[in-house]
């Protein structure tokens, strides 16, 4: 693909090199550590689910017991492997016994290390095989349906009623009106919970709790619709917060297609400890990568707390870093939906040209990625008509720059979590513009040295500079200095730091091995 922006290819390559280096450095600095959430994820992948009598999720029950005895440094797999040998029971049974207070993993005779590893490795392999089997069935199901036009943008629509059953109603309206991906937004504060709630839920704020049951309910509803209407509708959710890798596992199990999964969001916007998140994101991404789930990063957020015109280079820098962190976790480019947003203040003269430049820049820098484009939000006010007009131009840039995934804008963005018809009005706007302007991108060229080309070049140059600086000081310090979204977070601060555990020499996680990514490399 020829660059429409006339980009400096060398500079872009240099950005990539520097970003890869930054990501490697993060890998090194987080290596040799696990977290309570990573370990709970191992339990979940091994089939542990459910809650104890006090409603504590069984993965937490297990990890808590192991931690109590200071055993987490070996990894939950070690203890569970040993327990399997000792009891002959399956992981879920073992977890139930622990939950019922009938079993203490540390009071069991310890088998030999290699036997433990072998046992748990077999269980893990079988578990992965099973999930892969279900996903393969899904792939067949999907292949039998209309997957939409290959080159058209996939519309991504949120539902966020707080009640999973109401979300289903919204999702049906979305599907019926051409939505391609339904994303169940999570209740506020769930990111701060160090466990995943259990069962179907009907009371959330600004979103619906991400539980395995809710995933299943929504998946089933969408599949029902897809079957009846012959078009496959994808499901997405948020894979972030203190339970990031667990949610990845739940998503894989329940057949989610996409996940919002950002390396830095929780740090910056939820004040989660930075090392905790960076360790968690890695395992979560391994899982997403392994099961073919497309992830979407959250650079859009920076433009909500920093000015979109001046913060543009930080978006590119972050996309690069997010990209290489994902690559390092084994995600192929086709599964890395780097984020991107249309957030310039509507009163900026030629703002559209800057947006166009930025969107095209993202598209050209990540040619193999399903880039995800986010709608205007922060400057949207209570006037639904103003928002709708801005959304129209957002839709135009989307189609003209060939974004692959597009979260649609809704007229009431500035007011409340959208009502059912707001989603439909948003989809109609999107569909109208996507079709009415279908080949515009191919039909026009940017004037060499014009505003658009100049802006793109400048953003790239500044992003490059920024990456160099970050490489110099390391990502941790860069976050401390407020490079992203004007938010500054420090090494030891933030929630969840207490959940980080250093490996001891006997640490073992069969999934990392089986999923083929060596984290200690």
């Amino acid at each position: 693909m020829r660059s429409k922006l006339g980009l400096d290819v060398g500079l872009a390559d240099s950005c990539r090199e520097v970003a890869a280096e930054i990501a490697r450095d993060v890998g090194q600095r987080t290596a040799g550590r696990t977290t309570v959430s990573v370990e709970r994820t191992v339990a979940r992948l091994l089939g542990v689910d459910g809650v104890d009598a006090l409603d504590v999720p069984l993965p937490n029950v297990l990890v808590d017991q192991i931690e109590e005895h200071g055993g987490l440094a070996r990894g939950l797999a070690y203890w569970l492997g040993n327990a399997i040998i000792a009891t002959g029971a399956e992981p879920l049974e073992i977890a139930k016994l622990v939950g019922a207070g009938e079993l203490d993993l540390h009071h069991l005779p310890l088998a030999e290390d290699h036997r433990i590893r072998q046992t748990i490795r077999q269980h893990a392999a079988a578990a992965l095989e099973k999930i892969r089997g279900t996903r393969a069935e899904r792939a067949t199901f999907r292949a039998g349906l209309d997957g939409g036009t290959a080159d058209a943008v996939e519309t991504y629509v949120l539902t966020a009623t707080g009640n999973v059953y109401e979300d289903v109603a919204h999702a049906e309206a979305v599907a019926e009106n051409g939505g391609d991906i339904v994303a169940v937004i999570r209740s506020t504060a769930q990111s701060l919970l160090d466990y995943v709630p259990f069962g179907p839920t009907t009371e959330g704020f600004g979103g619906t709790f991400a539980t395995q049951a809710n995933f299943a309910i929504m998946r089933e509803a969408l599949d029902r619709w897809s079957r009846a209407n012959g078009r496959y509708v994808k499901l997405s959710s948020f894979c972030s917060g203190l339970c990031m890798p667990e949610i990845a596992a739940m998503g894989a199990i329940e057949g989610l297609d996409n996940m919002v999964n950002d390396a830095l969001y929780g740090i910056l916007y939820r004040d989660i400890n930075l090392r905790r998140t960076l360790i968690d994101q890695r395992f979560s991404r391994m899982i997403n990568g392994y099961f073919g789930v497309v992830i979407n990063t959250g650079e859009d957020n920076y433009l909500r707390t920093a000015d979109a015109v001046t913060a543009a280079p930080s978006v590119v820098a972050s996309q690069m870093i997010n990209y290489f962190l994902a690559r390092d976790s084994g995600l192929p480019p086709e599964q890395i939906g780097v984020g991107n947003a249309f957030e310039i203040h509507p009163d900026v003269t030629n703002g559209l040209l800057y947006e166009w430049a930025q969107a095209q820049l993202t598209r050209e820098l990540f040619p193999d990625c399903p880039v995800k484009y986010m709608p205007p939000t922060v400057h949207m006010n209570g006037n639904p008509f103003r928002t709708h007009a801005v959304d129209s131009l957002f839709n135009l840039v989307t189609v003209a720059t060939k974004q692959e995934i597009q979260t649609i804008g809704v007229p009431t963005e500035g007011v409340f979590t959208p009502h059912i018809h707001d989603r439909v009005l948003g989809l109609e706007n999107t569909r109208y513009v996507a079709n009415f302007a279908r080949d515009l991108g191919d039909d026009i060229e940017f004037r060499p040295g014009g505003i658009i080309q100049t802006r793109a070049a400048q953003v790239l140059a500044e992003a490059h500079q920024m990456l160099l600086e970050i490489a110099e000081i390391g990502l941790f310090d860069a976050i401390g200095k407020g490079y992203f979204g004007n938010v500054s977070r420090h090494y030891d601060h933030g929630r969840g730091a207490e959940g980080i555990v250093e490996f001891d020499t006997g640490y073992y996680n069969p999934f990392m091995e089986l999923m083929g990514v060596d984290l200690d490399a």
Binding site: T161, G162, A169, G382, N383, P384, F416, H419
Partner: protein, 258 residues
């Protein structure tokens, strides 16, 4: 499990069953400011909105302020009962209509149409009557079963009735688009009066249509039926054919009885 709506007490739905959420927009002829905001909330309360909230308001010019209000409507509507009594008609295809006419009436049905008074909007009536029709669905002119006279637009009511008599029309179709200051009401009422005065009201179907003409309104004004946006030629074609057949049936019963 998902709660299902109680159709006998239906309320607006925003994102939860029975949340009653509605959005109301209007301008008040008052100067922009906090007092204006209060006035808007007061007004919303007179509309029986609970917990109204001004989510946006802006000055239009000196003495005029625009509001976007959301609030909860706690009243409900009995949809179950409404549904029972609703005017609904099973539409036939072009072919079925032609066959119905051929079999039950045995001659071509004569329809005459116009956009009347000073109304020059002819696209609607043309869509009903002219060959070309609408969105690929033929106008009545294309049907075997109809003989069509389309007088066009700006046709005085008197002239329309005069021509209807001349061609011995079974149905008069009038279109009205300009409704500001209720112009259409005067004009439509006049047509009924003239038809009555000329003594053809009973033997002619009076049908009106237009973007803001509803069936209820049409009935109220003394028409037999009214058609609004989203009407296709086969809709009104079905109505005419079925209604004429039904009237013949009644007439023949009466004739036999009498």
């Amino acid at each position: 499990m998902r709660e299902t709506a109680d159709l006998s007490a239906v309320r607006p739905y925003g994102d939860h069953l029975n949340d009653g959420l509605v959005q109301v927009t209007f301008t008040l002829p008052v100067p922009y400011g906090l007092a204006a905001r209060h006035a808007a909330l007061e007004l919303a309360r007179t509309m029986r909105l609970t917990e109204p909230e001004v989510v946006h308001y802006q000055r239009l010019c000196d003495g005029y302020t625009y509001f976007v209000v959301i609030g909860q409507c706690r009243q409900s509507v009995d949809f179950a009962t409404l549904r029972e009594g609703a005017f609904d008609i099973q539409y036939l295809t072009e072919h079925e209509i032609d066959r119905l006419i051929e079999e039950q009436i045995g001659r071509r049905v004569v329809v005459i149409g116009a956009s009347t008074g000073t109304d020059t909007h002819s696209v609607g009536i043309d869509a009903m009557l002219n060959l070309k029709g609408l969105d690929g669905r033929h106008g009545l002119e294309a049907y075997h079963g109809f003989e069509v006279h389309n007088l066009g637009s700006q046709v005085p009511n008197a002239r329309l009735v005069e021509r209807a008599i001349a061609v011995n029309a079974d149905a008069i179709l009038v279109s009205q688009t300009v409704t500001q200051q209720n112009l259409h009401l005067h004009n439509l009422t006049e047509l009924v009066e003239i038809a009555e005065a000329e003594g053809i009201r009973d033997r002619t179907l009076l049908i009106c249509g237009g973007p803001r003409v509803s069936h209820e309104l049409a009935k109220e004004l003394g028409f037999d039926a009214g058609f609004s946006k989203g009407t296709y030629p086969d809709h009104v074609g079905t109505y005419i054919a079925k209604e004429l057949v039904a009237r013949r049936a009644i007439a023949s019963t009466t004739a036999t009885a009498g």
